[in-house]
Amino acid sequence: MWNPIESAPREELERLQAKRLRDTVERVYHLVPFYRKKFDEIGMKPAHVKSVEDLKNLPFTTKQDLRDHYPFGLFTVPMDQVVRIHSSSGTTGKPTVVGYTAHDMGVWKEVMARTMSMMNVGPGDVVHNAYGYGLFTGGLGFHYGAEEVGAAVVPSSGGFTKRQLLLMKDFGATVLCSTPSFALHLAEVAQDEGYDLKKDFRIRAGFFGAEPASEGLRNALRDAWGLVYIEAYGLSEIIGPGVASGCPYGNLHVFEDHFIPEVIDTETGEVLPEGEEGELVFTTVTKQALPIIRYRTKDITVLHRQPCKCGRTITIMESVKGRADDMLIVNGVNVFPSQVEHVLTKIEGITPNYVIVLDKKGVLDKLEVWVEVDDRTFADGIGALETLKSKLQQEMLNDLYINVRVKLVEPKTLERSMGKAKRIIDKREAEGLKS
């Protein structure tokens, strides 16, 4: 265990949370007009917040609030104290931006070091990090965590599957960090290339996150690599990866001395008791650049507060069961149906009547957009229709950063087979996973 606070008695933990929460509330109230206005509207003063119990009276913050204050409107420090800026894709317009001070980077390293310590990763380990490096927090988050615990990091990022396999084998990687689907893709390519996964590789632990993974996929990874599966949970608005980490017993522990979790009824906003399913909400209590009060993650989960066999007393969250809104995660990239709609309306003549179909191709997510061809869009020529199709695919790639396969369909098709309102068909879970 990296930090004894993870197994501290709950009273001690809650005292620490309360103190940090009071500091954070003071901070945002005095430094961010957005929070001051929201607090004033409901007659809240920082002095009203004494314990974690009082959190339920504070207003929520949403992704839209972050967008509305693009880029730095919710920062509580001047820019000369910001040492890192990350950003994630937006729906139709502005991305969301998150900033870190040197202190915040310290918090991030700390929680990522705790994550790595779930499997006692440290000096002598070779961590193969296949999360994407860049604006996405995944790559750098794991990178810092691995360095913090003294392991050797191979910053391979995504892509180049065969070369990655060669490096993993030759460098003797002991730890793999990637999305679960990429880890399975690596395993399948390795088999095709004639590697013996258990003889040629030494991967003992895998830190998998950034997208949902079914139990079938987890087992397939355990079997293929002979590794211990550690689930990584995080979101850039809170810090990036490192908000919660799985332990060897399979429980996902929230590092709640930094990020206080609540579960609420997504409709009413009421806090739900332990053990009930609802939307996960986080309040950061140690961050400086972008502290955030009651951030609605839209992730659906259940919290448990009983101690774990691993010795930790910090809150356990169940693996995320779904999304409160319709955001899709395609190979780790966030995609909103509104983004698809936006692209369609940009192309002259296309009525925004479409259906998004998510499926697995092998182990990777495959996104298809079925677009209706109506009398106005229909050009009497295979070539003209193929051009329309590739233009749409190119626009989707430009706007969504993912490869989308566009399929042109007749208007009646969509209405007949699935009803007008249903825009998303997710076949990924329904069909099960190839192992």
């Binding site: 061809v373 229909f378 020529g381 295979i382 229709l385 042109l408 007749e410 098709t413």
Partner: protein, 147 residues
């Protein structure tokens, strides 16, 4: 000349889906529409069914109300001798006059004659009819197809 020789062809967008062709033909049968000429172009996922029928207006309204995506196109037809070299003669004239053929299809009309249907870019249609007529090619009037 377009007014005299232009023929209305219906192009229907079809997904490659079981039974879809059956549904088009059934709708036409139920409306007692006779198909005089047809061609089906296909890609991996969809096809375009091109029809010349005896009553294009009626066919159009029947198919539209059955939910098919369609477009009316102006094409033209020529009648040639059913013997080697006839198609060549027509294409040669079009090529010499820089007229690009979008697509063409044909059927044997009986009595040792064949009918060829051509689609050229719409801004080339008038010119195509003119040069073929001058070249001694027999143009077919719409009445040959319509009731």
């Amino acid at each position: 000349m377009i007014k005299k020789y232009g023929i209305k062809q219906l192009s229907i967008f079809l997904e490659n889906r079981k039974g879809r062709l059956l549904e088009v033909t059934e709708a036409l049968k139920d409306a007692s529409i006779n198909i005089r000429a047809l061609a089906l172009a296909e890609s991996a996922e969809f096809g375009i069914l091109r029809l010349v029928v005896n009553n294009p207006e009626k066919a159009k309204s029947v198919l539209s109300s059955s939910g098919f995506t369609l477009k009316e196109q102006e094409v033209f037809a020529v009648e040639v001798a059913d013997e080697p070299g006839s198609f060549y003669e027509v294409v040669k004239i079009l090529t010499q006059n820089d007229i690009n053929v979008d697509y063409t299809y044909a059927f044997v009309g009986g009595a040792s004659k064949a009918v060829l249907i051509f689609k050229v870019p719409s801004d080339m249609l008038e010119k195509a009819l003119g040069v073929l007529d001058q070249g001694g090619i027999t143009l077919v009037k719409p009445m040959f197809f319509y009731d």
